[in-house]
């Protein structure tokens, strides 16, 4: 077996602690927290094999048991046997593996050997290759989720989706993820209470499948309790931590610290069970508030102490997130929001968690707030002031829009207002609804096919054309109908593929422990993958702005001004505009989305409709027949997919980044932030983007650090959200600082930026991603 080269979590930055940070230095509230942060950041990137060995052994020994029971038995055995550790200064027990910084291999899902780890940084891909023994790897080859899926779907290409590879790939290294477990019952009843309730349900159950689920749930919960009790013994030297562990192993917590500890242990266990891609721990500021207030009342908790504990919690989340240098988990932390009757939910803990997270200048967890019309404006100002500290947090959702969209999908009003941010920029409801892609609308490929009579620029498809050939597209309406036909087909085919993935998740992707924190799972004795309270799958469609701009350019140049034919546009795109510079200039001169241009209003609505209509007709959740939602999740693919996407009719050259936000294509934004946000507000979010879109806005740093400017930004955002903007994420770092960071990365290593669906240390980005960020218009 090859030895892992010593690569630290700082990525490829080299020596640690060599130079002081000049920009965005982290400001942990205590030296202990600062030391813990350094320790976590300097951990080597490595693989931990205890989980792989235990799971292999249990799955081998219990081959006749149902899959879900094998998973639970293996999980319990892992909890009973995993060697424990605690980092120096860490006051919260519970780690992802047996070795600091090392991540487990989830063999029953997929193994890094399969080369399915995706990465933001292509230079670092495959780093973990060779870490798992051949014996383990070979045994699982046809027995894990990926192997079984392959056997069941021999003709399925991996990755099935060219445009959005990671959306399908993640399902083979992780269980579902994109979820937020509900921890209210756990805090109320304690683990012992949950276990008793589960046992009671199992006692009367006769149905074999249901019995398997309930037995698995009980095994998983018992394992979790045993793991916590082991911490009580392991931490005997640290009396308070030991006492807390012993207590929360079965009893409900009584203090803030006890509640925080229990919540973390349960959350960590969920990551151990299912990898935990894109998990958010419920509404933490709401759940923990009673404990915080009680402790304050009795004088046993100071705000300084609470802040240090919150920072500790945030560090635990970050410690849990570096799944190899290849990818982060995109964990979330969401605070604030409003009730259905408009009451503001932000509280002192919301502020403490925000302060903690931004003090630490880390790319994860992604920190979110929920804006609403009655948001405390002082709190909102505080949120904006934190963005200027060299992180991009908090990111924002709008309560005026998100619940309305969920209600359209059949969610009850009070549940809709309990929504939470998960993953890159997806939506969920703790314990009731998790995000899961179920289809994909490929705008740009559909445009390409419509422009080439179904052949593609490189004549690389033999499929039968689905629309009239180019010479018959005499009007713009005929052209958009052809575009719509190919778009419909992309939804249909991707839906079919995604349903095979869902089927695989339901058979070999169960998570009995996580299911215990989802409504209806214990009651109906079925796994989360079989369905929870609301089963909403999503149809993704990315690079919306390029699609709108391309249609606008074709309408103006081909149909209105008659300056070129469709064939000319196709030839120009195929040639990446070489020899077609004049036509490219005309395409570029057409109106561009993001500039509040009324000439695009009908096209925005058209693209939404051409995707929504077939989605409604084709896509149904196979479990209960419910409707799909729509989403625009880009993560890192605006740059990566851009590299392999041909030139587009909006004038964008081949290989260059695509639009990382629904607001505007790269370089198209010319009329300032009011025009940009007005353009976004033209999208009908409750009707056409129920499960989330993303909007990037970039300012020079002084716009948010200077209070007078910040007041203007706050007014800008209040109006944007009032007008119906669903989401917003801000970078507020001067171009000069980003350039300086490129030249001297070591000095700027704490600088955190938002790309599209993820955040990262700026200096860890690839050069083209750095340029993509700098190219966004930076407002004064």
């Amino acid at each position: 077996m090859r030895r892992a080269p010593a690569l630290s979590r700082r990525g490829f930055l080299g020596a640690l602690g060599a130079a002081p940070a000049l920009a965005a230095p982290a400001t942990p509230s205590t030296e202990t927290i600062a030391a813990l942060r350094r320790d976590i950041l300097s951990s080597p990137v490595a693989v931990a094999l205890h989980r792989a060995r235990v799971f292999t052994g249990i799955f081998q020994a219990h081959g006749r048991e149902p899959w879900i029971l094998r998973k639970a038995l293996a999980l319990r055995e892992y909890f009973r046997t995993v060697p424990l550790y605690l980092r120096a200064g860490d006051r919260l027990a519970g780690s992802i593996s047996e070795t600091p910084g090392a991540m487990p291999v989830l063999v029953e899902l997929g193994i890094a050997e399969n080369n399915i780890y995706t990465g933001e940084n292509p230079n670092r891909r495959g780093y973990l290759r060779g870490q798992v023994s051949a014996e383990i790897r070979d045994w699982w080859r046809d027995r894990n989720l990926w192997g079984l899926y392959r056997a069941a779907n021999p003709r399925a290409a991996i990755p099935p989706s060219r445009a959005l590879p990671e959306s399908t790939q993640y399902k083979f290294i992780s269980n579902q993820g994109h979820l937020s477990p509900s921890y209210a019952e756990l805090l109320r009843l304690g683990l012992g209470g949950l276990l008793t309730a589960t046992r009671a349900r199992r006692a009367g159950e006769r149905d074999r499948e249901k019995l398997a689920f309930l037995t698995a749930a009980e095994q998983a919960l018992a394992g979790l309790s045993e793991w916590i009790r082991r911490y009580a013994e392991f931490l005997a030297d640290s009396r308070e931590m030991s006492r807390i562990a012993a207590k929360v192993a079965t009893e409900p917590p009584a203090t803030f610290r006890e509640a925080l500890q229990l919540l973390w242990l349960a959350h960590q266990a969920i990551h151990i069970e299912g990898h935990g891609y894109s998990c958010t721990p419920d509404h933490i500021d709401q759940l923990l508030l009673p404990y915080y207030l009680a402790d304050k009342k009795t004088g046993t908790l100071s705000d300084a102490e609470a802040l240090a504990l919150c920072e500790n919690f945030v560090l635990k989340m970050y410690d849990n997130t570096v799944w190899g240098p290849e990818h982060h988990l995109t964990q979330g932390l969401c605070v604030g929001g409003s009730t259905p009757d408009g009451r503001d939910l932000s509280n002192p803990l919301s502020r403490l968690f925000l302060e903690a997270a931004t003090n630490l200048s880390l790319p994860e967890p992604l920190v979110w707030i929920r804006w609403h019309p009655n948001i405390d404006q002082q709190f909102f100002d505080y949120c904006l002031s934190r963005i200027s500290r060299g992180t991009c947090f908090p990111l924002m959702w709008n309560d005026k829009v998100v619940p309305a969209g969920l209600i359209q999908l059949g969610v009850a009003r009070e549940d809709a207002y309990n929504y939470i941010a998960v993953g890159c920029n997806e939506l969920a409801i703790p314990g009731q609804f998790y995000f899961n892609p179920g289809a994909h609308a490929n705008y740009l490929r559909s445009l390409e096919l419509a422009l080439t009579s179904g052949r593609g620029y490189r004549a690389d498809t033999k499929a039968k054309p689905l629309a009239p050939p180019v010479p018959e597209l005499k009007t713009f309406e005929q052209f958009t109908a052809a575009f719509g036909a190919y778009l419909r087909d992309s939804i249909r085919t991707s839906y079919a593929t995604e349903m095979t993935l869902l089927d695989a998740q339901m058979k070999w992707g169960q998570t009995p422990l996580t299911s215990c924190f989802f409504e209806g799972c214990l009651e109906r004795a079925r796994d989360l993958a079989q369905g929870t309270k609301y089963n909403i799958l999503s149809c993704g469609g990315i690079f919306f702005a390029n699609a709108v701009d391309s249609l606008a350019a074709i309408r103006q140049v081909v149909y209105q001004n008659k300056e070129a034919a469709l064939d000319d546009v196709a030839a120009a795109c195929a040639a990446n505009f070489k020899g077609h510079e004049r036509l490219r200039a005309k395409l570029l001169a057409a109106p561009k989305h993001g500039n509040d241009d009324p000439r695009l209003d009908d096209l925005i609505e058209l693209v939404e409709r051409l995707r929504d209509q077939p989605m409604k007709e084709i896509c149904r959740d196979p479990r209960d027949g419910t409707r799909f939602g729509n989403t625009h999740v880009v993560r890192s693919s605006a740059v990566r997919t851009g590299r392999v996407t041909p030139a587009t009719p909006d004038g964008r050259p081949a290989g260059t980044p695509l639009a990382g936000s629904v607001a505007a294509s790269v370089g198209a934004e010319r009329s300032g932030p009011t025009a940009l946000l007005n353009s976004v507000a033209k999208l009908n979010a409750p009707r056409s983007w129920q499960t989330g879109y993303q909007v990037n806005l970039r300012f020079q740093g002084a716009m948010l650090s200077n209070p007078a400017n910040r007041e203007k930004v706050r007014a800008l955002l209040n109006v944007y959200f009032q007008k119906g903007g669903q989401q917003l994420q801000i970078n507020a770092i001067d171009t000069e600082i980003l350039r300086a960071a490129q030249k001297n990365p070591e000095a700027y290593r704490d600088l955190v930026v938002r790309i599209a669906g993820f955040s990262e240390f700026f200096v860890n980005l690839t050069p083209d991603m750095q340029e993509d960020l700098i190219a966004r218009a930076a407002h004064m």
Binding site: E581, T674, E711, L716, V719, Q722
Partner: protein
């Protein structure tokens, strides 16, 4: 009626309170050496040429009636400013926007249509519309018509002016303007003449008259090292601030060189020596500290 406008800037946050849209009037009676909006000086439309954007299509050469445009060896456009009459024939055929006409004649309705797109932002931030330039008072009828239209829409209206105009023109606008951003460039009349081409006597008289008439005023003072950034000028600003009861504050505008790059696009060369450097932060702070110590309310 139309006005000649060279830019409509949305999310303008440095020309009055809140979030604003600033309308830049083309044409100015002064010739300040350090002008940072050189495209606002001439009242005539001008041809801006950005050679970097040229895609060597040659369409402009065919379109030019004055043979002012030719192609170089690479096929890219070369502009002979001596022959160019800024007739504007080339700009519409230049899809690459290397050749653009600066200065469009817009109606009040056209300007208002853009301005009103952001009215929610004005309402939330206490912002509104600002007339700037160039010199808005050099197109007094259009300025008045635009201000009347804006007032009908209940927008907060600001006018940025050099004050170099006939008093009756200012007087007519008095009831229409919520805030005057009044430029004050130099105290010494002789120096004012050499820096701007005009004496400051009328400017000072108009300033005092506006103040007497009860206008809300902000004084904006460009500070240019080696030119007007002198102690006696600062002292005079402080004295003026004490003298004018309706003055709401003073804002110093430190010299910058952003106007220089614009000049090239219009075929002009800078009249400012390269040796004149923008003031550093400490120097700016010392000016502000001095004015503060003299009881002047500063806007920064």
């Amino acid at each position: 009626m139309t006005g000649r406008i060279f830019d409509l800037q949305r999310f303008s946050i440095h020309d009055g309170p809140g979030i604003r849209t600033t309308v830049f009037f083309k044409g100015c009676p002064l010739r300040c050496l350090w002008c940072h909006n050189p495209e606002g000086i001439s009242s005539q439309p001008q041809l801006a040429f950005t050679p970097d954007k040229c895609i060597a299509c040659g369409d402009c050469v065919k379109a030019c009636p004055e043979t002012a445009l030719a192609r170089n060896q690479a096929g890219r456009a070369v502009l002979d400013r001596a022959r160019c009459t800024a007739c504007g024939a080339c700009a519409p055929v230049c899809d690459a926007r290397a050749l653009e006409m600066v200065g469009r004649d817009l109606t009040v309705e056209e300007v208002m249509a853009v301005a009103l797109r952001d009215r929610d932002y004005y309402a939330a931030s206490g912002g509104g519309l600002t007339l700037s330039g160039g010199e808005p008072l050099a197109q007094p009828e259009f300025a008045e018509a635009l201000l009347r239209a804006a007032r009908r829409e209940r927008l907060h209206c600001a006018v940025e002016t050099s004050g170099f105009a006939e008093w009756p023109q200012l007087e007519r606008l008095l009831p229409l303007v919520d805030l005057w951003l009044y430029d004050y460039k130099e105290t010494n009349p002789q120096l004012h003449l050499s820096f701007t081409g005009e004496s400051n006597q009328r400017i000072l008289a108009n300033l005092r008259a506006l103040d007497r008439a009860g206008a809300r005023l902000l004084l904006r003072c460009p500070m240019v090292p080696e030119y007007n950034a002198r102690q006696e000028h600062l002292a005079a600003i402080a004295a003026l601030a004490r003298e004018l009861p309706n003055l709401r504050g003073v804002e110093l505008l430190p010299y910058h060189r952003l106007g220089q790059s614009k000049l090239q696009r219009f075929g002009f060369s800078s009249r400012m020596p390269a040796s004149v450097k923008p003031p550093d932060k400490e120097l700016i702070s010392s000016w502000n500290a001095y004015l503060s110590s003299r009881g002047v309310r500063l806007l920064q």
